[in-house]
Amino acid sequence: MWDNLSLKEVVELTKDPFPSIRKWVKEKGKKVIGSTIPDVPEEVIHAFDFLPVSLIGTDKPLKKAPSRLPDNACSLARSNLELVMSYEGDLFDGFVLPQVCDTTQHLSDIWRIHFPDKYTECFLAPRQVDRPSARYWTKEEIERLISSLSNWTNRKITDDGLNSSIALFNENKKLLKEIYDFKKKNPAALTNKELFSLIKLSMQVDKEEFNKSLKRIKDGLKPQKGEGYTDIVLAGITCDPPEVYALFDEIKLNIVADTLVTGTRYIDGVVAQNGNPVDALVDRHMNRMFFSPIHDNVYRNFEEIKTLYKENNAKAVIYIHIEFCESQEYDLPDLKNMLRKEGIPFHVMDTEYQTLSLSHLRTRLQAFFESLKGGAL
C-alpha cells in the first residue's frame, strides 16, 4: 500500500493518512498503537509487532475536545484529543503517551479516562537532561514501557528483535536525510511541502513498505537548482497545516535546516545498532536536539539555530510558534533577543491547529522577506 507511492501521492496521504492505515491494518491483521509527540521510542512498539503511529493533529473540526481541554490549551494537544475522541479513536488498540509538560501530563490522564477499554501507557520523559539521573530515568522508562507492553500482549521481545526494528527505522531516517540533503542543494527538485510530507508520513505508516517508496523517490530525483530561492532555517516543534510549507514554496523559500520534532529532530534519531538496544535508545534520547519542554537551556537552542544558520549559509530563521504552547512562549522573547543581537533575521509565525488563517500568515511572511531583500532587517 505504501511501497510504491509517488511524491504527489505522499502529499495527498499526509493530509489524512488514516483511511489508508485502516485499510492496511485490515489487510495485514495488525494492531495499531498511537503516540503523541515527542520521543516515544517507536522502535519498541514496532518490536512488539504493532504499527506505531505518531499523532500530529487533525484539520477536521473541533467538536468534543474543548469540553475536556479549554481554549488556552496547546492547540496541538486539543487537536490530537479531537482526533481520537471524534474521528479515529476506534482505529487504535492502544496508546503510549509521552509526558513532557503540564498539558501532556493532563492529556494522558484525560485520554486514559476517555478510553477505559484500551491499553493506555504513559512515557514519563525526564524534564531535565543534563544530569546523570536523566539517563538513569530514561532507561527505567524505556524498560518500563517494554515490560508494560509485554504484560499487555503476553509476549516478550529479544534484543535481536528490537535491533531489527531499530535497523528498519534507521534505514527510514537515513533515506529521509539523503532526500533532505539533496533538496538543500536542489531546491527546485522537490518542494518543502513534499519533503516534510515524506517525514510526517514516515512517522505514521509502516516503514518496511514506505522505505521502498522513499528509495524509489530518492533514486528518481533529478538535480534542479532553480532560481530565486532564499535559504532559511525553520525552528520550532511542529509546522502545520501542510499549507504552511506551501506558503514557503510559493515565495520560493528553501528550508535548508530545521529543529522540528517532525523534521530533523526525528531524522537525526538514528540509533546505534547491534549493541544493547535499550542503552542505544537511551543514548539517542540524551543526544537529541533541543526541545523546549525538556531542555532548560535556551542558550543551547540559540547555539543550535545559529550553527544551522551559519553552516548552511541561510538568510533567515523562521520560528513556528504553536498557539498556547507555554514552553515555547517562555523561551521565545529571550531567543528572539539572542538571535537579533547576533544579527540573524528572525520571523515568528503563529500557528494554530484547525483554526489557522493562512492569508494572515502569507501577508506577514511576504512583508518579512520583502524587507529582508530590501536589506531593512
Binding site: 469540553s67 475536556r68 481541554l69 479549554p70 488556552n72 490549551a73 509526558q99 509538560c101 503540564d102 498539558t103 501530563q105 493532563h106 492529556l107 494522558s108 490522564d109 484525560i110 479516562i113 504513559c122 514519563l124 525526564p126 524534564r127 531535565q128 544530569r131 546523570p132 539521573s133 536523566a134 538513569y136 530515568w137 527505567e140 518500563r144 519542554p293 532548560d296 537551556n297 535556551v298 542558550y299 498556547f324 507555554e326 514552553s327 512562549e329 517562555y330 523561551d331 521565545l332 522573547p333 529571550d334 528572539k336
Partner: protein, 418 residues
C-alpha cells in the same frame, strides 16, 4: 478631626497567631535582605519543593509566588502583567510569572519586594510553568537552576517505587549541586533536625485545616489561605511549629465554643473549591457566598502543604515520597480520591470549580474532575472561568450571576430533599 480620620475603621486587635505570623515574616524577610551580609545565599524556590534541603544548608528560600500573591491580591495584576506582555510574553501565561517579570521591570510592589536570587530550585510537582519562569529569571543573571523533576505519580505500584528512586537520586544531585555552589559540606544531622520541625508543623497544619470538620466550621478556606503562608515559607523551622501550635489552639477554642465562620443556623452550604483562589476577589467572594449561607471550607490546593513525613525513613526517601505525591502531580483519578476524602470528612454539600486561565497545571484537570465528583457525590457543581490574578479576565456580573444561580439550584435541591 479630618474626614479621613472620621471614616477610619477601628483597627482590629491581632490574635496571638496573627502577631506571631507577622513577627516570623518580618524576621524572615529581614534576614533575607541581609543574606549576603550574613554569609548566606538566596535560593528562589517553588512553593512545593523540598525546601528542607535549603533550610538544612542555610540557604534562605525565597518564593517569588508569595510575592506575586501579595501584588495580585492588591489588584496590581493587570498593571504588572501588561508590562510583561510588552516584552513579548503572551497574556495567557501564569499571572504569577507575568506579574513577577513586570515587577522586575518596574519595581512596582505593595511589599518591600524580594531580594535578588543567587540560585534556583524548581520542582515540577507543582507545575511546569514555574520551571520555565525560573529559567527566564536565571538567564537574566546567568545563575544556576536545579530542576527537581518529579514524574507524574502514576498509579502503578512498581512505577511509583522507581519514581521515588529517581527522585532520591536527584535529591542527592541537589545536595552535591548546593555543596558545589556554597563550597560547604552538607550536614545530614542538620537535615534530620529540620525534618523533625517540618514533620511536626505539617501535622499541625493538617490539624488546623481539619477544623473544617466541625459544624459550624470555625475555619473557611480564606483562613486556610492566610494560615498556609508560614507553612509555605518557614517549614523546617521551630517558629513554624510554634505558629501552627498557636493557630490550632485558637481555632480549637472557637470550635469548642461553637463559633463558626457563619453561625450554625446560617451555615447552609459547606463548599469545596477547586483551584487556587481569585486572589483579588478573595474577601468579596467570602462575603458574597456568606450572604447565601455558603462557606468554602477547603480545596486540594490548601492541603498541598499537609505533608506526612515519616521520620523513621531516610529523610531523602520521605522527602521524595511527599513531594512527588502532591495533588498537582497526581493522576486525575487520585485527585478525585483526595477530593472525595475531603467531601466525606468535612460533610461538603456544594462545589465551585474554578477554571483558572493562569494555572494550566490545575485547571486542565477541572472538566474531567468535575464530572467525576458530580457523579460520585450527586452534588451539582458551579464552574466558572477567570484568572487568579489578572483582573482583565474577570467578569464581575457574569460570575456573580452564576453564583446566584448556583445557590438557587442548591436551594431547590435542598427543598426537594426536605
Amino acid at each position: 478631626m479630618s474626614d479621613t480620620q472620621k471614616t477610619e475603621k477601628p483597627k482590629k486587635e491581632l490574635t496571638k497567631s496573627q502577631m506571631l505570623s507577622k513577627k516570623i515574616t518580618e524576621d524572615y524577610m529581614n534576614e533575607a535582605f541581609r543574606a549576603h551580609e550574613l554569609g548566606k545565599l538566596i535560593g528562589y524556590t517553588t512553593a512545593i519543593s523540598p525546601v528542607e534541603i535549603f533550610v538544612a544548608h542555610d540557604i534562605i528560600p525565597i518564593y517569588p509566588e508569595n510575592h506575586a500573591v501579595a501584588n495580585l491580591t492588591a489588584k496590581k495584576g493587570a498593571q504588572l502583567c501588561s508590562v510583561t506582555e510588552s516584552l513579548g510574553y503572551t497574556s495567557h501565561l501564569c499571572a504569577y510569572a507575568r506579574s513577577d517579570l513586570g515587577y522586575r521591570e518596574t519595581g512596582i510592589t505593595v511589599t518591600r519586594g524580594i531580594p535578588e536570587p543567587d540560585l534556583f530550585l524548581a520542582c515540577n510537582a507543582q507545575c511546569f510553568t514555574l520551571t520555565k519562569w525560573f529559567q527566564v529569571l536565571a538567564r537574566r543573571g546567568n545563575l544556576p537552576v536545579f530542576v527537581f523533576d518529579t514524574p507524574e505519580y502514576i498509579m502503578d505500584k512498581k512505577a511509583r517505587e522507581e519514581i521515588i528512586k529517581y527522585c532520591v537520586i536527584q535529591l542527592k544531585e541537589l545536595i552535591s549541586f548546593l555543596e558545589e555552589v556554597t563550597k560547604k559540606k552538607f550536614d545530614y544531622d542538620r537535615l534530620n533536625e529540620v525534618m523533625k520541625y517540618s514533620a511536626e508543623s505539617s501535622r499541625l497544619y493538617k490539624k488546623f485545616l481539619d477544623m473544617a470538620q466541625y459544624k459550624p466550621s470555625p475555619i473557611s478556606i480564606f483562613d486556610a489561605l492566610i494560615g498556609m503562608a508560614i507553612a509555605v515559607y518557614r517549614r523546617g523551622t521551630p517558629e513554624c511549629v510554634e505558629y501552627y501550635r498557636t493557630l490550632c489552639e485558637e481555632f480549637q477554642e472557637k470550635a469548642d465554643k461553637g463559633i463558626g465562620v457563619l453561625p450554625k443556623d446560617k451555615e447552609k452550604y459547606r463548599l469545596y473549591w477547586e483551584n487556587l483562589p481569585v486572589w483579588f476577589k478573595f474577601s468579596d467572594h467570602a462575603k458574597l457566598l456568606g450572604s447565601y449561607g455558603g462557606v468554602i471550607l477547603t480545596s486540594l490546593y490548601v492541603h498541598a502543604w499537609s505533608f506526612e513525613f515519616d521520620l523513621d525513613k531516610d529523610p531523602l526517601v520521605t522527602l521524595a515520597e511527599n513531594y512527588v505525591s502532591r495533588f498537582s502531580n497526581s493522576t486525575l483519578e487520585d485527585r478525585a480520591e483526595m477530593a472525595m476524602d475531603l467531601f466525606k470528612r468535612y460533610s461538603l454539600n456544594g462545589m465551585i470549580m474554578f477554571m483558572n486561565r493562569s494555572c494550566k497545571a490545575v485547571s486542565f484537570a477541572v472538566p474531567t474532575l468535575k464530572d467525576v465528583l458530580v457523579k460520585r457525590t450527586g452534588i451539582p457543581a458551579l464552574v466558572f472561568e477567570s484568572d487568579m490574578g489578572d483582573q482583565r479576565f474577570y467578569s464581575e456580573t457574569q460570575i456573580r450571576t452564576r453564583i446566584e444561580a448556583y445557590f438557587e439550584t442548591l436551594d431547590r435541591l435542598q427543598a426537594k430533599v426536605a
